[in-house]
Amino acid sequence: MQLLIEGIFNGISIGAVLLIAALGLAIVFGLMGVINLAHGELMMLGAYTTFVVQNGFRQIGGPLLETYIFFALIAAFFVAALAGLVLERGVIRYLYGRPLETLLATWGVSLILQQFVRSVSWQLVIGLVIFCALFFGALWAISKRSNFYRIRNWAIAILAVLGAKISWEIAAALGRRFGLALTQPWFGAQNVDVTAPSWLRGGVVLMGFQLPYVRLFIIALTLICVVGIYLFLGRSPWGLRIRAVTQNRSMSACLGIPTAKVDALTFALGSGLAGIAGCAISLLGSVGPNTGQNYIVDAFMVVVVGGVGKLVGTLVAALAIGTINYLVGSGTLALISTPIQPLVDFFTFFATTSMAKVMVFALIIAFLQVRPAGIFPQKGRMVDA
């Protein structure tokens, strides 16, 4: 019995991580039908932000060091939200109504972000800044011309190539001149470690098993996020607009809701939540360029099982998937079913982390046979709902 409780607690803590990862995804997916495969990489950005903030506080030192995690949460939220905003304005807004293509585009973005954290260095940053200055500066200058719209595409193509070449050369020259000071990668391809503040180490002992403080912290954080999102969507004017656009985009547009702004805001919000999720997972283990990949598929399964556009569905699905995953993966189920030998053999076969995924997926497929639209399907009269 105690084993089961312990298993359920650990499962809930895994579910909390999943939930916080899936929350932003669910909002974005529910609102815009955009499959954001770069969501995992936005989480990764949040995790790396935590790492940077931690190092910054370590440099400063002093008693403030223990509280770095709160600053890191805020910073992670804003860094990821900003990245999301750029992504939405730069790419996704041209692809609304073509969900499969947003999927490919965001996958491209996720590849770029992965490689970016591997190879980001002062040299790369300087190159990027020069490129942006050249490209957007020249574009701005050209936009004054009267025949701007006729030559726009050509100008962009030529400027992109020219700007890339010039900035590449300058950055390479600077790199040769100053050497490692500029070319040393910030993070490199290796994983980096975030150490939790000392008050988060250890745990509280309850009925003979330990609840790590970190897990409790993440559960609390998830709770705060869920409640915050609930209040934001339920009570604030922008929340109302977001819900309206989710329900019926064209009708909302007709009623004067700025749907483009709503989209951008929602995407930034979802990305910011990804940043917080990244901050949370950085407490659990080391952070690397592949961090995001580990969570993205699970997060999507949560969204699919929960039903799109429903916060409650996401909540229930995340907790259920997390718990089942842990119970199967840790072998708890195998231990519980001791009297019946075939069941024990069956569960022992799946009692590893990776094999648990196999079983959970089978369960998900079985579940979708019963309820194809998730736990809480979106109600509507449309054929294609």
């Binding site: 499959i35 041209y94 969900p99 490919l104 491209g108 770029i112 979708l368």
Partner: protein, 395 residues
């Protein structure tokens, strides 16, 4: 000439299509002859092997074009079928143990202390079974998965997510089973197939030739499937599935069928690829690889079989060139490729050529043409208004 005189409108069109088909067949066989007889003279052994691999990958691109380009289902799980095909042929090769050897097991099994061959390895002793399994195993897995998913009308992005999750599941499964299929390391170190050494140049050339023949067969199959009634139904499902259902068809069966065919093509591709690389490992079921397959089709042009083949060849060529030159930054290029194709060339190269290419090139050369919308000329409402206007002015 004579059929217009006789007034049989269909006859002429039929002749035309038949002539077009003959021309197409001629072009393809010419390309195949060049690939088989001229390329070995030009390219080194390594490059020829590389070309063979790309051609194998073009087969899976055809499969993806069938389900994505024509039926509108974006599968992110074709790596599974690719790998299943590869494993099927690799298992057969691993069982080619000389009878003189003391242990009649693949060598990795003895490392993990397995004493008896697992049951599912046994049938792979026979070559005919393995050859059929290359196609059948992926097709059956695809059909089962497809049936479970399509029966519930799960489609669009949900289908994509589910296939992606399936990929992760299969990856985990193959990665975790060290004893049964050598886990992470995969099956490698191939010796003989049908009595011939796998790595001998003659065998490799035979495999290369075989790949080309399979590619042509796959192309012919896809062409046949997509040109007739079946193909039109697939496109109808892509464009408006509900409408197809309301017209009295059951799309599920067609979707399952085309998914299974596409999976079989992927399995075939996987087998040919494995024979030429000499390794199959769970890495072939990486999510990234499965999505990459989609981008080959997107680059070449969706809903165009030539585009799929072309895209696979081009992207893989660029990849092999760029990743040797900029090993570090290949991911940047790949990511940029995804972005560029999706935003600037949504129809791929072939689609661009068909729709905008001619006009853009012409306007680049300076000869600008003014044109109305052709649809306006046939729009009955416009015609009606013109008539009314001309009447009014004449009165």
């Amino acid at each position: 000439m004579i059929d217009t005189l006789l007034g049989i409108p269909g006859l002429r069109r039929e002749r035309q299509t038949r002539r077009n088909l003959l021309i197409e067949a001629g072009i393809i066989s010419a390309i195949a002859l060049v690939l088989i007889f001229v390329m070995p003279l030009i390219l080194s052994g390594f490059e020829l092997n590389l070309l063979g691999r790309f051609l194998a990958l073009a087969i899976v691109a055809l499969g993806i074009d069938l389900i994505w380009g024509y039926t509108g289902m974006l599968s992110l799980g074709h790596g599974i079928f690719f790998a299943l095909g590869g494993y099927a042929i690799a298992m057969h090769i691993k069982l080619q143990i000389p009878s003189t050897s003391s242990i009649q097991l693949p060598e990795f099994m003895t490392l993990y202390g397995v004493t008896e061959l697992p049951w599912f390895w046994r049938p792979f002793y026979s070559f005919p079974f393995s050859a059929i399994a290359v196609l059948a195993v992926p097709a059956i897995v695809g059909a089962i998965l497809g049936y479970l998913v399509f029966r519930n009308r799960i489609r669009g992005v949900y289908f994509s997510i589910l296939t992606q999750a399936t990929t992760v599941v299969f990856f985990n499964f193959f990665n975790g089973q060290q004893k049964l299929i050598n886990g992470t390391n995969g099956l490698t170190d191939f010796r003989t197939i049908l009595g011939a050494s796998v790595n001998a140049p003659q065998t490799q050339f035979a495999i290369y030739t075989l790949t080309i023949l399979f590619l042509i067969a796959a192309y012919a199959l896809s062409r046949w499937l997509t040109s007739g009634r079946f193909g039109r139904l697939l496109m109808a499902i892509r464009d408006d599935e509900s409408r197809v259902r309301f017209s009295g068809y059951d799309p599920t069966g067609y979707k399952v069928l085309v998914f299974a065919i596409s999976a079989a093509l992927a399995g075939l591709a996987g087998a040919m690829f494995t024979l030429q690389t000499g390794i199959i490992s769970p890495r072939a079921m990486d999510i990234g690889f499965s999505i990459e397959m989609v981008i080959w089709v997107a680059v070449g042009g969706r809903a165009s079989l030539v585009g799929a083949v072309l895209g696979a060849l081009l992207v893989n060529y660029a990849r092999s060139r760029l990743s040797t030159e900029f090993a570090e930054n290949w991911l940047f290029f790949q990511g940029a490729l995804f972005l560029i194709v999706v935003t600037i060339l949504p129809d791929g190269l072939i689609g661009w050529l068909r729709h905008q290419g001619v006009n853009q090139v012409r306007s680049l050369l300076g000869s600008r043409q003014l044109a109305t919308y052709p649809s306006l000329e046939t729009d009955p409402e416009v015609q009606h208004e013109r008539e009314v206007l001309s009447k009014e002015t004449s009165e």
